[in-house]
Every structure is written in C-alpha cells, then in structure tokens.
Symmetry: C2
Subunit: 127 residues, 2 copies
C-alpha cells in the first residue's frame, strides 16, 4: 500500500477551489462526480508532489453531514518564502487568523483557517 493523497471535506467547493488556487497558489489537476453524489477536486502546488483532494457532499446525498469541527485533521502545512506577507495575503483572500506569525529557532510560523475552518500552517525561514 502507498499513501496517495489527503481528502478534506469543504463547505463550498467553488469558494474552496478559489481560495486554494488564487490565494494559496495551487493548481486544479482534475475533478469529478462521485457515484454516491458529490464533487471532488484534486489540487497540487507547482513545486510539490503533495496531492490535496477537496470533497463536497450536497445536502440529501449519501455522505452529507452537518459540518462540525473535529480533531482528526490537525493542519495542512504550506512552505512560505515570506510568512508575514503570505499570512496577510491569505487573510485578504478569505482565510481567518488562528495564530499570528511568530518566530522560533530561525523559522517564522503562523496558522490560518481556510474557508471551511481547516487549519493551515505557514512556515518559512525567518527573514
């Protein structure tokens, strides 16, 4: 067996695609319809092999549930060449702040929440 990708559940597929492409710099690779009802979209960053799948289940379909915050997904991590700048860019693009940028051990870190509430870590070398 080998790990292929991570699938996150989103509240609004077009809003999330727009956020991950326009704001987070990813590219849409493919999308399709699930047999059980729903839409999936695969995204990649230009310089990374990591594959992120967005899953959306419309109300009334088999896997629909009310969207609730849970523990399983701790965060998605993104490398940034300028964390304070990308943090502000993400907030302007529809993210909300979870933890404002701080530095430790030569790295600058910050956490934002995507439009569905998923925590995203921004990490880079302190400039």
């Amino acid at each position: 067996m080998k790990f292929l990708y991570t699938g996150i559940r989103v509240k609004n597929v077009e809003q999330s695609v727009e956020f991950y492409t326009k704001t987070m710099g990813m590219q849409e690779v493919s999308r399709g319809q699930m047999e059980a009802g729903g839409i999936y979209v695969h995204l990649k960053s230009p310089d990374s092999d990591q594959d992120l799948e967005l899953n959306y289940y419309p109300p009334g379909t088999q896997y629909y549930e009310e969207y609730v915050k849970g523990s399983e997904l701790d965060h998605l991590a993104f490398w940034s060449d300028n964390v304070p700048e990308d943090y502000e860019h993400a907030l302007a693009g529809g993210a909300t702040s979870a933890i404002a940028p701080w530095s430790e051990n030569g790295y600058t870190l910050a956490f934002i929440r995507d439009p569905s509430g998923v925590w995203i870590e921004l990490m880079g070398k302190t400039r």
Copy 2:
C-alpha cells in the same frame, strides 16, 4: 507557497506509528518535540512522496483537546494492489471497518478507520 504535508491528530502516538508502519507499510522519517508540548512524527510510503505527520498533544499541554470526530478530514487515500486482502490485513492490524470492499468501474474500493478514527480509503484495480 507550496503544500508540504498533512498533519493528523492522533490519540496515541506509538499505537498510530505502529499501525501506519507495520500495517499500512509506511516508514518513519523523523520525529520531534513541539515547543508547546507534544510529539510529531513524519511518515512516508516507500513509493510515494506524500508526507503524513502524526501529532500528539498530551493532556495539560497548550493544544490538547478532547478528541472528537469532525468533518474537516474526509479521508487519507492509499493505493492497494489487492484491496480485499489489504482490507483484512488492516482490520487484523487494529483498523475498524467503515465500508467493506466493493467494485465500481473497474476499481475496488473500501474504507477503514485508523486507531484514532481517521477514515482511510483503500483503492486499487479490480483483480
């Protein structure tokens, strides 16, 4: 920015490391201690660049919370050369069944839950 890895939160770090290495075939790449308290472990499959981070926050540390099932993490996807066999292997290794194997469009699919409850998709060509 580029997507680096997915971090999931686990209930018991050694139990999860054992599950993802012995049962799911991944290898431990690195591990460390967080400044805020907690342990992280990075895992990869031998034939994949996807990076999975396990995060564990002990009770009393800054980011500890009671572990609750949520919506954000839909699933982690693993490719399998023999889904029915790997499904049974996973159940024997500490996973629980979410959806038993079925076939559609030439592929066999199944869903299991890891020891923390994270959904894992097994997918492969129907044999």
